[in-house]
Amino acid sequence: MIHRRAAGAKLAVAAVFLVTVATAHRHLLALSAGWLVVLVSGVLVAKLPVGGIVSRTAAVLPFSALFALFSWMEGFPQTALGLMVKSYLSALVVLLLVATTPLPELVRTLESARAPQFLLMVVQFLYRYIFVVVEEAVNMRTAAAMRGGLRFQAAAGALATLFARSYSRAEHIHRAMIARGFQGHFRSMATGTLAAGDVIFAFTAGALPLLVRTLGEVLL
């Protein structure tokens, strides 16, 4: 169900969720439990693997833990905890959005929402070529393994080769782009309009984080 909804509607819901979470200060732990229930419900409705999504979201924690540690050492344990909880929930929101929306559609929607084009171009190229670079790296590792393994010095050389190949590929891509009339900025295809179902979804799903926060602040 979530997969079928327009990227614009999902992006609006995600934005509401992120702002609601980021601006909450009182009763943060209780509110977070409510938001977590909403998000996990979203994961279930989208038929995504709950365990995989919840554990992959934890990848953000080491980064936020560093800043949380500074807050803790400065004598603000509540802020530190809030930082960890908020970063986890925010990452879960973004992961749910990305897992239910094809990236091209998401990029087009962000573009029509006037997000910086350079940033979108970087995301787009990263998504397109990360697989190519990883494949090259795997091939190099296999080739090395067949000749006795990759020692530290050889690994450094392989890394340099990988960089040089990526640089050369970037030049080839640029050539291919200008050969097809690229003049400095992407002209993307028009994004589809929101259907009635998308609008209803945006209002309903967008209301949930606000509802959790309002209820929490009134009842607690």
């Binding site: 094809p102 990236l103 091209p104 990029v107 787009q124 190229f125 998504y127 397109r128 070529y129 697989f131 190519v132 590929r169 080839h172 891509i173 050539r175 291919a176 782009m177 200008i178 050969a179 097809r180 009339g181 690229f182 003049q183 002209r187 993307s188 295809m189 028009a190």
Partner: protein
């Protein structure tokens, strides 16, 4: 007599490291003609082709459809010349097949609807109908080549330049490509090591050696002269 669509005289080019890649190349291509560029790796075929749509600029003259290739004519020249590069992964840079095929059309100022329509026709031509929403990195090597070709055919150029078009294509794919190329009305330059393919698609071959054209004529005769004949395979 047919009009020349590509006219190259005395073309010389050296790479920034000093390697001289082209040494006075003369080349002519008429409307609707298909020419194979043969020659060993590093003989200058691709470097030469990159001059035809101004991606490289050397000394000598290059004209396309009567226009001298120079900075102020580049936009027009690139509308006339469609180039399919050797490495399809470098050519397919957009996140979906449809977006990649429409890339050049949108740059030409077409509306999204018109661009999509023409892209779908080109994808049908290359046997890739139905792949519109697929991500290029999920395609097989042969499929990538066909989508790359569709991205160029959609632009309806007057001249097609294909660099190693049969790489990664299985024999049925090669036959389908040869049939498609024979049916296309455009002038074609095919850079290839595949002599049977060149023989099946081109009326003439030009042999490059060390940055210079050393022979030209019927494909079979040129290939045989340098030991590249059909029988040698």
């Amino acid at each position: 007599m047919r009009r020349p669509v590509v006219d190259v005289n005395g073309l010389q080019y050296s790479y920034p490291d000093g390697t001289q890649a082209l040494r006075g190349v003369n080349f002519h291509l008429e409307a609707g003609e298909a020419v194979a560029l043969l020659g060993a790796n590093g003989s200058g075929k691709t470097t030469f082709a990159l001059h035809i749509n101004g991606l490289l600029r050397g000394r000598g003259s290059v004209s396309v459809c009567g226009m001298e290739v120079e900075p102020r004519s580049l936009a027009l020249v690139r509308r006339k010349v469609g180039m399919v590069f050797q490495d399809a992964d470098s050519q397919l840079f957009m996140p979906s097949v449809l977006e990649d095929v429409t890339f050049g059309l949108l740059n030409q100022g077409l509306s999204s609807e018109d661009a999509c329509e023409r892209a779908r026709v080109a994808l049908r031509q290359t046997g890739m109908a139905g792949a519109e929403t697929r991500a290029p990195h999920h395609l097989s090597a042969g499929e990538k080549r066909r989508v790359a070709l569709a991205g160029i055919l959609a632009l309806d150029p007057e001249i097609l330049v294909l660099d190693e078009p049969t790489t990664y294509l299985d024999p049925p794919g090669q036959r389908a490509l040869a049939d498609l190329l024979r049916a296309l009305p455009q002038a074609k330059i095919l850079i290839t090591h595949d002599v049977p393919f060149a023989h099946a698609t081109c009326s003439r071959a030009v042999f490059f050696h060390d940055g210079a054209v050393v022979a030209e004529g019927p494909v079979e005769a040129v290939a045989a002269r340098f030991g590249w004949g059909l029988a040698a395979r």
